[in-house]
């Protein structure tokens, strides 16, 4: 079967895949590479459950074509922990019960990581606006915001 050959880097590993022109990066991650941590909540860039970081920029992977991954560096939720050592954001999400069903969690963690990279000391308002592209229906966001605040404190101290 014909397809577009793509070479990219995912979570630091070199990855090559073939995909169709219309396939999204989310389709490729989930269906071709078995990286199902990014979720499809809407397919239209409204829910943020598929958030990944491409070349340092937070994107909805449902709005990026698989072919656009060529030559880029992609971070997904699967690469967030360092082996068994969880990222401070992951630890704080667990401690604060910032997840109930957990399906939006990978997207929130990527968005929060992107925020803290750009702004290590965000106000509550800055956190709320940075995470406004990610929908959560379970928590009312309270515990998510607190987890990000706490993680920011820990990361500053580190």
């Amino acid at each position: 079967m014909s397809g577009i050959a793509v070479s990219t880097t995912i979570n630091g590993d070199d990855v090559e895949f073939l995909c169709q022109a219309e396939e999204t990066l989310l389709d490729v991650l989930r269906d071709r590479l078995g990286l199902t941590g990014a979720k499809e909540g809407c397919g239209t860039g409204d829910c943020g459950a598929c958030s990944v970081i491409v070349d340092g920029r937070l994107v909805c992977s449902c709005l990026v074509l698989g072919a656009e991954a060529e030559g880029r560096s992609i971070e997904t939720i699967e690469g967030m922990a360092d082996g068994e050592k969880l990222h401070p954001l992951q630890e704080k999400f667990l401690e604060h019960a910032a997840l109930q069903c957990g399906v939006c969690t990978p997207g929130f963690l990527m968005a929060a990581k992107d925020l803290l990279t750009r702004n290590p000391d965000p106000t509550e308002e800055e956190i709320r606006f940075a995470l406004a592209g990610n929908l959560c229906r379970c928590t009312g966001y309270d515990k998510i915001v607190r987890a990000v605040q706490d993680a920011a404190t820990v990361m500053k101290g580190a």
Binding site: T76, M80, C101, A132, R137, G140, D142
Partner: protein
Amino acid sequence: MGFDQSYSARKFKSVGTRPLRPDGVDKVTGRARYGADFNMPGQLVGRVLRSPHAHARIRGIDTSKAEALKGVKAVITAADLPDHTEGDSELYNILDNCMARSKAFYDGHAVAAVAAVDAATARKALKLIEVDYEVLPHVTDVDEAMKPGAPQLHESSNMANRSEYGHGDVDAGFNQAEVIVERTYKTEQTHQGYIEPHACVASVNGDGTGDLWVCTQGHFVYRQVCASLLGMDVSKLRVTSSEIGGGFGGKTHVWAEPVALALSRKAGRPVKLVMTRDEVFRASGPTSATSIDVKIGATREGKITAASATLRYTCGPYVGMWAELGAMTAFAPYDLENVKTVGFEVLVNRPKVAAYRAPSAPMAAFAVESAVDELARKIGMDPVEFRIANVASEGTKSSYGPVYGPIGIGPTLEAVRDHPHMKAPLGENQGRGMACGFWFNFGGQTCTDLNIGADGTVTIAVGTVDVGGSRASLSLVAAEELGIPYEQVKAVVADTSTLGYNDMTDGSRGTFSSSMATISAARNAITVMRERAAQMWDIPVGDVVWEEGHAKAKGEKHGNLPPLSVKEIAEKAGNTGGPIAGHSEIVADGAGVSFATHICDIEVDPQTGATRVVRYTVVQDAGKAVHPTYVEGQYQGGAAQGIGWALNEEYIYGKDGRLQNPGFLDYRIPVCSDLPMIDTQILEIPNPNHPYGIRGVGETSIVPPLAAIANAVSNAVGVRMTHIPMSPPRILASLEAEKGA
């Protein structure tokens, strides 16, 4: 076997603490597998063709071109789902909703489905299916549908059911009233809005066995319904519940699952079927749109003399009990001598209504609590004091019939009265509102297997799907009853072939009923461990007691025997009778009813009608909070959903009967920047029918927000809001109307 479910006060060691959840690491690392994260060898992609018409007779479906397309392995219509329902009308309605049989009843109603080698081929195949529709007149509005001459969905009237509750003589009661408030309220249809669309992988073999992997709130119920619809033997269909990405009642009903099974049966291969967000909005979910008349009368001293309501709830194309639930719950917080509610179930050309968190209660509470507030204002009483003066308590005859046991509505109101939030100053254009809410909660069929590992660690296999952290709370309960540390227990959700039948995780029953089964299973395991310890010591079992996680020999002659831990007993299990386990199969009746009172401050921009939630507080009775952090999470999540419902969310239908906003961009649920922190206060009024006093906590928190926010907005702008959601255009229109009046 008798299991004593009555409450006895105790000092808890594990219950009430806040440990990390057992499924947490998987969920923060992307490893947890949800509905769409599972695949089977050789699986096909399933897709559903849906009616673009709100109401149409299906004269014929030609699938030949789709079947001829390369890569298409099966095309099905209603003809491939023959009627096995044997006169069970509820089951027939489910079947008809899964795949339209003679008429399409709403925009989005499934009419055919395909299974193909990939998604692109499946999409192409859908376009090749030719459906011959005879478009019929439609009706989507609840009040329009009740009018004479309205387009009719079925042979009989659109008014599909009438229900009635109450006691006393309301006419006499209104005659005694010195002040009366009477109004009509409307609420629009909303969706549960779970972030994970419905998804399943189905595999049916030629020998009649099958597997279904699915995100659901109740895999045992899905098995029962799917097997019945497909004509399969229940025990030959194994259903595994995936991690579930939110449900809120929406995943208690089947839609795509019977279709996926029928496709797999026809294609002879596994089929994965995942709904798009558009399909989720058009075909699954929604709650009722409503129109409610409320009349409440009181004396000048503030005693309610009579209350009545007429509640009209849409149910989609099939009758439900939605208006009835509204009629039952409407006046539940109050002690009323004369009360009457009448519910009308109204058929409309919208999707079949599904349960949504305390189904039907939020709309009824919106209407009633708005009227109660207005009445208090007219009398000149503080709205909290007015409610306290009329509140139900133990021994009150409830508005839906039975007499209450110990309940928490009075204490939540008193907590709200004394809460600092009530005394905080308000800014310009801000208003404060409060409101009460009620939900029944229920129990049902439940079982738990508790197995002791060779090293003394414990697995509990439960049959209630974990939607919001119940594996953590059930592990706490097992640890509590056994007297061992939480870390020694691991809870898993078992599939339908490895555990007895369980009702769904609905009605706030998950932790209530599975904790009861877990306590019972743990007590049974303790009985076994006492016997084993007696064998190890070679003493009578009557001399062995279970204390603090250990078997202890009692009596002076055993004074030299050191206590045996679970680990020590487990190590010798092979010598003392084999594996050690405790099982429990119960009907967890006796769920405790649940009450909440909410406070909120809303700021309204009088120029644009835009609103901002400034502050929000939830006070609710939990019975006993097993894992308080997750109880807070339930309170906050329900409040946030209620805020969305009150201010923004609604299904918008065009004149053509088509849904105009089937996506998260135009159906806007609250985002992080829309909300403040949500304060919570957990009250614990023990449920007398649970050993630990647990009530359900999952649903009630969505009941008060609609009214609390409506009261706050009304107080902010000085105009009574009667139509939910209070979107900016609707608030502006109310302000304009008031100016004109």
